[in-house]
């Protein structure tokens, strides 16, 4: 089991944003978390990636507990994430943004950086090459030297993707990767996620776009008001009466 979430709870004052959620992610799969707005999907992601501490419950990654660890420690262990509202570093080029992703896979510190030692120079070249490779994989190699935050929305998303991949994660968390994209771009993202998955990276994604989720996921977790109401394969979820109820409303007739 790559990721295990047990009885996870998160309260914000009186609001129970995530309530007793349990699920697990097998290595190699694409798992999706869906649910209506306000179901607690992003909160769940923030809990898993360490951006928020859980009120109670446990999260195990590769068999070790990660709840309560700061995000950078979780990232070092091989978990990368993207954001629903893209978070790139302003004032830095697309390439530099991707190079940040190599941080946890390189080691030059303050002193070696100041002295610009031969091995730090070699490491820096390797970081640059690997990052350029990833930009090429995402078809944005020509944008390497452009300031990242001045790019078009879809391109920024691609840079954020490349940055996450630069971390060589075992588990990639994608927070609404198709938000704000048109149908062609969404299809492109779907293809990309499958490619990444075939390279051996496990994917956990939160998404609103049903066609994307149903096409590419192996398993789906459905959240509503912070609670897990269903879990299964896309076919099972499509025929689950609870899920249909929360998405299409109750049958009054």
């Amino acid at each position: 089991m790559l990721l295990e979430v047990n009885n996870l709870n998160r309260r914000f004052g009186g609001l129970q944003a995530v309530s007793d959620v349990n699920f697990s992610v097998h290595p190699g799969m694409i798992k999706a978390v869906i649910g209506p707005n306000g179901a607690g999907k992003t909160t769940l992601f923030n809990l898993i990636s360490g951006a928020l501490p859980p009120s109670s419950g446990a999260i195990h990654f590769k068999g070790l507990p990660i709840h309560g660890l700061p995000p950078f420690r979780i990232a070092e262990r091989g978990m990368a994430r993207t954001y629903q509202n893209i978070k790139l570093c302003p004032g830095m080029t697309a390439l530099e943004n991707v190079m940040i992703g190599r941080h946890c896979r390189s080691r030059a510190g303050f002193i070696s950086g100041m002295l610009n030692l031969p091995w730090t120079r070699r490491e820096e070249i390797a970081i640059r090459e690997k990052s350029l490779e990833l930009l090429a994989l995402l078809d944005i190699a020509d944008l390497a030297e452009v300031e990242a935050t001045s790019l078009a929305f879809g391109q920024q998303r691609a840079v954020e993707f490349a940055r996450a991949l630069a971390m060589e994660p075992e588990l990639l968390l994608l927070d609404e990767p198709a938000a704000g994209l048109n149908i062609y771009e969404t299809a492109e993202v779907a293809r990309l996620i499958s490619t990444i998955n075939q390279r051996g990276i496990t994917v956990l994604l939160v998404e609103h776009d049903m066609s994307l989720v149903m096409d590419i996921s192996h398993e789906i977790v459905v959240l509503s008001f912070g609670q897990k109401i269903a879990e299964g394969t896309p076919a099972e979820i499509q025929h689950n009466s609870e899920v249909i109820k929360i998405y299409l409303g109750e049958d009054d007739a």
Partner: protein
């Protein structure tokens, strides 16, 4: 290679200026030039902290003062009465003390400047960590207020403490023999060597800092400035990086304080004052924030002008005004300002 061009320019300019003063018989300019070099050390360190890591400090004069005052106190205070104290005996055995004569010919015992230097730097590091760990959890205005508070504490401590000479400060600080043949002192005969020493130190600091900002660490610092949460999620220990940067800039300020104090032969409470901290921040801003060379150029020019008394009694007012004007019209610094754009902004405001 590109990175070393400004460094070469700096060295050539320093040599050129010295030759010029020699040729024109204006060697008296070397004194403010040397002092400006030491202030520049504080400024480039603060530039790393503010411009790159994005953390403001309104207390850097405090670190300058900790360095300068500790070194001044340790090298001037007569330790003869404590001669039998085991700590002093140990220091004596280690060669960390010097004996001399006071003005009446009596024997006096001081701490050697190198030992004082080590002590001052260690205490600066300890204070910087002690202040930085809690304070760097704050952001924006809150961080500015907290560092301002630190600066005020240092200022009031040196002003109130007899150990640090209260309002008079500490004078008659001895020369600092760095190694045989070269001492930090304001003596007439060592003016040229001290000029080169000071600017050599600036060149070294610039080399180290320019390397740092182009390294993995520098990239992480700039990323922290832009998007701290995301940077943490990329595996950067953001708290430690901010703290280390804070300590590096504090140490640079303390080194500047120590050397300038020995060069001037004394230090007074104005060096610890809030207006000094504001001045450093203003100069980093006018240099363009994330622009080490801009900070160095503007820092040297403005400090030389200030030290030559060009701003008269309005010194502090000038730096306050600079801060307002830069923030309004050239937030990317004077060197980053393209005039048409600046005029455009000005006109837009008028509409």
């Amino acid at each position: 290679m590109k990175r070393h061009l400004p460094l070469a320019l700096l060295v050539l300019t320093a040599i050129g200026v010295q030759q010029l003063t020699h040729a024109t018989g204006t060697a008296f300019y070397l004194t403010p030039l040397t002092m400006a070099a030491y202030y520049s050390l504080v400024i480039v360190g603060l530039c790393l902290l503010m411009g790159y890591a994005g953390q403001i400090s309104l207390g850097h004069a405090g670190f300058f003062a900790i360095g300068g005052y500790l070194s001044a106190m340790l090298t001037t205070r007569d330790l003869t009465p404590y001669q039998d104290n085991p700590v002093l005996v140990l220091l004596d055995k280690l060669g960390c003390t010097v004996t001399g004569q006071d003005m009446f010919g009596g024997a006096v015992l001081h701490v050697h400047p190198w030992a004082a230097f080590a002590c001052a730097i260690l205490i600066t590091i300890a204070v910087a960590y002690g202040i930085g760990i809690p304070v760097l959890k704050l952001k924006g205005h809150y961080l500015a207020m907290a560092t301002l508070g630190f600066g005020i504490i240092v200022y009031r401590l040196v002003l109130a403490s007899p150990l640090f000479g209260e309002a008079d400060g500490i004078s008659e600080v001895p020369a600092f023999p760095l190694f045989p043949g070269l001492a930090v002192s304001g003596g007439f005969e060592s003016r040229v060597s001290n000029y080169y020493l000071a600017w050599g130190m600036v060149a070294c600091a610039m080399w180290l800092l320019a390397n740092l900002i182009h390294s993995r660490v520098g990239r992480a610092l700039r990323a922290i400035h832009g998007a701290e949460d995301a940077t943490n999620a990329m595996g950067v220990n953001t708290a430690r990086y901010k703290l280390n940067t804070f300590v590096i800039s504090a140490v640079l300020a303390a080194v500047a304080g120590i050397f300038l104090t020995h060069y001037n032969g004394g230090i007074g409470p104005s060096e610890a004052g809030i207006m000094k901290s504001v001045r450093y921040v203003a100069i980093v801003a006018i240099g363009g924030m994330a622009n080490l060379w801009g900070a160095l150029v503007m820092g040297s020019l403005l400090n030389i002008m200030s030290l030559r008394g060009m701003f008269g009694s309005y010194d502090d007012a000038v730096f306050g005004l600079i801060l307002i004007v830069i923030m309004l019209f050239a937030p990317r610094g004077l060197l980053g300002l393209s005039l048409p754009q600046g005029l455009k902004r000005l006109l837009k405001r008028g509409e």
